[in-house]
């Protein structure tokens, strides 16, 4: 049986301590700049904060993974190199990378530190994964959320590295690392700047009838009725009209979160080494609730008990949850 490590989000030092205390096997975090894909206002770590965080986590047997998972635009690669050097100096346990140039730099400069392949690299076949393993010594791949469990099982048989899958949180619809939707409307890039629907471009408007509309850079993304649950103002969760759908519909996906709590035994059996919880942009309260629940579930499964999982639906987007592609090909 695989280790089923629990990989938990940390947007701030306090959230990191919360995740460690709640039983995370590893936490992942990033610096306060474009080098990671959650470059959100007021979030993330200064080098000094990361140093303290590494000390706190290591003292409790928890690993720290540093996300360097964006794509440096030409002329700005030094920022990513410096972030990698700083991370190595502070003793992080692994780098999570997507860009081949960044991977190559770390593999040459810091060969002692593990490389994990970010979901942002969109490696969804054994061949793609083997490419990164062969050339950069990648030790673990974070799989895109588009594969069924039988497909994951098949991939596991054909690759020389560990597998990490998302089990809870934002249900990304687009292939990560290949999405310029935000840049198209706002001028800020997910790949190059680490932003997705930046708060500076988001506006919520409350209407007389109690409904609320969300806008991104002046484009209406959705309008929630007075009694409707809301979601993030992301373009891929917006409501639009099409020639055949004049009534307006969720063209890509409705506001919903991924929750694979019921599939954990199957995922372990398929050879998944690590379970990732999404949500560096969320609060300590979310981290505490989700990590505690999954810690207990994984411990139950390891001990051969049926997992007794807390209900997490209150924390989900739109207060709805799905097993997405993991459950059925019909999701596609």
């Amino acid at each position: 049986m695989s280790l089923a490590e629990l990989i938990c989000p940390a947007g701030t030092p306090a959230a990191l301590r919360t995740a460690v205390d709640a039983g995370a096997d590893a936490v992942y975090c990033g610096f306060q700049d474009a080098t990671n894909a959650r470059n959100f206002p007021g979030l993330n770590f200064t080098p000094a904060e990361l140093a303290e965080a590494v000390a706190y986590a290591h003292a409790r047997g928890t690993k720290v993974l540093l996300a360097l998972n964006t794509y440096p635009p030409a002329g700005k690669v030094d920022l990513w190199r410096q972030a990698a050097d700083t991370g190595a100096r502070l003793g992080v346990d692994a780098f999570i990378v997507a860009d081949m140039g960044v991977a190559d730099y770390i593999a040459r400069t810091h060969p002692g530190t593990r490389l994990h392949l970010s979901v942002q690299a969109a490696a969804s076949s054994p061949e793609a994964i083997r490419y990164y393993c062969a050339h950069f010594g990648v030790k673990r791949v974070v799989l895109p959320r588009i594969l069924t469990i039988p497909e994951i099982r098949q991939i596991r048989k054909e690759i020389p590295c560990e597998i990490e899958t998302f089990i809870f949180g934002n249900h990304g619809l687009m292939v990560e690392g290949r999405c310029s939707l935000t840049n198209y409307l706002t001028g800020q890039s997910t790949n190059m700047d680490g932003v997705c629907s930046p708060a500076s471009d988001v506006e919520y408007k409350r209407h007389e009838d109690g409904s609320m509309s969300s806008q991104l850079a002046g484009f209406t993304i959705d309008c929630f009725g007075a009694d409707e649950k809301a979601g993030y103002p992301t373009i891929c969760k917006g409501r639009y009209t099409a020639p055949h759908r004049p009534e307006g519909y969720y063209a890509f996906e409705e506001p919903i979160s991924l929750n694979l709590s019921k599939l954990l035994p199957e995922l372990i059996d398929a050879g998944v080494h690590a379970f990732k919880i999404e949500g560096r942009q969320r609060s300590k309260s979310y981290v505490r609730g989700v990590v505690t629940a999954f810690r207990k579930a994984v411990d139950d499964i390891r001990a051969g008990r049926p997992a007794d999982m807390a209900d997490l639906v209150a924390l989900t987007e739109g207060q709805k949850q799905t097993q997405g592609a993991f459950e059925t090909k019909k999701w596609r």
């Binding site: 947007g11 701030t12 030092p13 306090a14 959230a15 301590r17 959100f40 206002p41 007021g42 979030l43 930046p198 708060a199 500076s200 988001v202 506006e203 919520y204 408007k205 409350r206 609320m212 929630f224 007075a226 409707e228 649950k229 809301a230 979601g231 993030y232 506001p255 942009q281 969320r282 609060s283 300590k284 309260s285 979310y286 609730g289 209150a314 924390l315 989900t316 987007e317 739109g318 207060q319």
Partner: protein, 169 residues
């Protein structure tokens, strides 16, 4: 620090809003002490606010007789109770039940979840709200507990009674 809570920008109709203004006057000395204390104990909070240290936030607990005006500027910190009809023009407004707002400040509740469930309403500069949320979320311990502790046993008693009487809907 602005201590004068009863200065009104708009002249209210005679007889209206007197209770609100009285409530503001009563609560203001407490707020002033609270905000000074929090600021001195959690100075790292200001770095996460970045350019929004000078933003005027209106925190609007729907069931209280007044709203709170917060300007988290370390050089000129403002937290004052304001009658709703005299509230300043805010860069960002955060509206919800008082107990929910308190729990958000203390990270007992998740802000995104409260937003998804529509219990929390946000308007104005969204980035300002996100920064404030992230800054407060990085504060260890409970700001509510700290505040209550400032008033000794009576303070703690009031907080725990408030919590007991609060039934999430």
């Amino acid at each position: 620090m602005t201590l004068n809570a009863t200065v009104s920008q708009k002249s209210p109709l005679p007889g209206r809003g007197i209770a609100e203004r009285l409530a503001c006057a009563v609560v203001q000395p407490v707020l002033s002490r609270v905000v000074r204390r929090i600021a001195s104990r959690h100075s790292s909070l200001f770095a996460r606010l970045g350019p929004h240290q000078s933003t005027d936030f209106l925190i609007d607990p729907i069931e209280l007789p007044f709203a709170l005006h917060l300007r988290p500027d370390p050089q000129d910190l403002v937290l004052r109770a304001v009658p709703r009809d005299a509230a300043p023009r805010a860069g960002a407004t955060i509206r919800g039940r008082f107990m929910l707002l308190l729990e958000l400040i203390d990270s007992e509740e998740d802000g995104d979840a409260a937003f998804f469930s529509r219990d929390l309403e946000v308007s104005g500069d969204t980035e300002a709200v996100v920064r404030l949320r992230n800054a407060l979320d990085d504060v260890d311990g409970s700001i509510a507990e700290e505040t209550a502790a400032m008033f000794g046993r009576p303070g703690r008693a009031i907080l725990s009674r408030l919590r007991r009487s609060y039934i999430p809907s």
